[in-house]
């Protein structure tokens, strides 16, 4: 069990800057994110895309923004709990007990939800029959590539993950690559390589096809694919892999008894607290009149939520406003002279 002042759910830019503000005012926090890396949508959706509306930063990529935010909170040495997801929130004597999927438990007076539009999960096949094989022979990520050796593998998708794995696995497996249109969105060099492998009959390439059904008695045996015109083909397959990108699901957040407005959490604009005492929501996941889904709005929301957390974390102290330029206490916390 870990005791802390604040648990932040979500390690995107909003969560990271809120952590900075907590550090500045002398509070401790623990940050949980279900991705395997820090940065949220900035890293998962657009690491290379330039952002033009961060104040005083004319242009930076999602990755640069994330790296700078990480650098900015380094002095506070906060813990990150990646690849983990907050599952359960319960209230015990005015404290929140926060439990994660990996079995971690935090006790804290404050939880800041900075969860974007929820957690990222792979988009799965729409085919009902695929569920039966989910996790065994129908997979959406690869942990151990040796299981595919000498097997027939049908890969669906047109992005880098699909192309890279098709190329890689074609060395030791019989690979079919299936995509819904002629164009691929992966790197041009990978697309070129796929075309070469297809011409040499090393990869079976099917464009303008999508999945129709998976079949097998006990274990997976074949996959049926269909064209837009309704023509179908049957391919032998020991494994079916789907790489359709990630979708955002609100997930367990919906179960915590918070007011919800569509997929967003209503908050007050004084400190971004929700209808539950000590639970705050900031960034894309919160809503209030005039809400803008901008990173800069998330920064502002995080700064005010941090002050809201102070009240519950230090009930016997009065929060005193200070500037980083002038305060020796803050300079100590930052480790600068």
């Amino acid at each position: 069990m870990i005791k802390t002042d604040v648990v932040i759910v979500g390690a995107g830019p909003t969560g990271l800057f809120c952590a900075h503000q907590l550090g500045i005012i002398g509070l401790k926090c623990e940050i949980v994110d279900n991705l395997d890396k820090i940065g949220g949508q900035c890293i998962e959706l657009y690491p290379d895309k330039p952002i033009y509306d961060i104040p005083a930063v004319p242009e930076c990529t999602g990755e640069e923004l994330t790296n700078n935010l990480i650098e900015q909170i380094k002095p506070f040495k906060f813990n990150f709990h990646l690849n983990d997801r907050v599952q359960e929130l319960t209230n015990e004597n005015d404290n929140w007990v926060v439990k994660t999927t990996n079995g971690k438990e935090f006790h804290t007076p404050n939880v800041v939800i900075a969860g974007g539009v929820g957690s990222f999960e792979p988009r799965k096949f729409p085919t009902k029959s695929a569920e039966k094989f989910d996790g065994t022979s129908v997979l959406y990520s690869i942990k151990d590539k040796t299981i595919f050796k000498d097997k027939s593998v049908a890969i669906f998708g047109g992005g880098d993950s699909a192309l890279d794995w098709a190329i890689e696995l074609s060395n030791t497996s019989k690979v079919s690559l299936i995509h819904r249109r002629e164009e691929f969105r992966g790197a041009p060099s990978s697309v070129q390589k796929i075309k070469e492998l297809s011409e040499k009959n090393i990869i079976n390439l099917f464009t303008k096809y999508s999945i129709k059904d998976v079949k097998g008695n006990g274990s997976l045996e074949e996959v049926e694919i269909k064209s837009e015109e309704g023509e179908s083909k049957i391919l032998k397959a020991d494994y079916v892999l789907g790489f359709f990108g990630l979708i955002m699901q609100l997930g367990p957040i919906a179960e915590w008894g918070l007011n919800l407005d569509k997929k967003a959490i209503p908050v007050n604009t004084e400190n971004f607290e929700t209808n539950k005492k000590g639970i705050f929501a900031i960034g894309d996941i919160c809503t209030y009149p005039g809400k803008l889904k901008l990173i800069l709005s998330g920064f502002h929301e995080g700064a005010l939520a941090a002050r809201g957390c102070f009240k519950y974390a230090r009930p016997n102290e009065k929060y005193r406003f200070e500037f980083t330029t002038a305060s020796n206490t803050i300079k100590d916390r930052l480790g600068v002279k």
Binding site: Q41, L45, Y46, V117, R123, P126, G157, G158, G159, H179, R180, R181, E183, R185, S210, E228, F244, G245, L246, I247, M248, Q249, K263, K293
Partner: protein, 106 residues
């Protein structure tokens, strides 16, 4: 102003007048029409405002921008006549447009 018909997957129809300059997605969201989520708010970065457009109308719509098809790859059950409704700008020319919603968005 254009009259737009939104047809849910279960067949339920909604006809609303949408102002020029709004998107087909906004027309649905502002009128509380179910079936279009628009998680990212119209930024072409989520594929949860996916709709199907019938052949005749599909060809009349302004062409897709770069990137829309890439996003559609990640939609639920995309087809040849799929569009992201946040990328269809409403104008008088769209009067009578019908869009069909997929079974689900995520």
């Amino acid at each position: 102003m254009a009259k737009i018909k939104y047809i849910e997957y279960n067949g339920k129809e909604h006809v609303v007048e949408v102002q020029n300059g709004l998107t087909v997605m906004e027309g649905a969201v502002q009128n509380d029409i179910p079936g279009i989520d628009a998680d990212c708010g119209g930024g072409m970065s989520c594929a949860t405002c996916h709709v199907y457009v019938k052949e005749d109308w599909y060809d009349k719509l302004p062409k897709k921008d770069m990137g829309e098809d890439d996003m559609l790859d990640q939609a639920y059950e995309p087809k040849a006549k799929s569009r992201l409704s946040c990328q269809i700008m409403v104008s008088d020319d769209l009067d009578g447009l019908t869009v069909h919603m997929p079974e689900k968005q995520v």
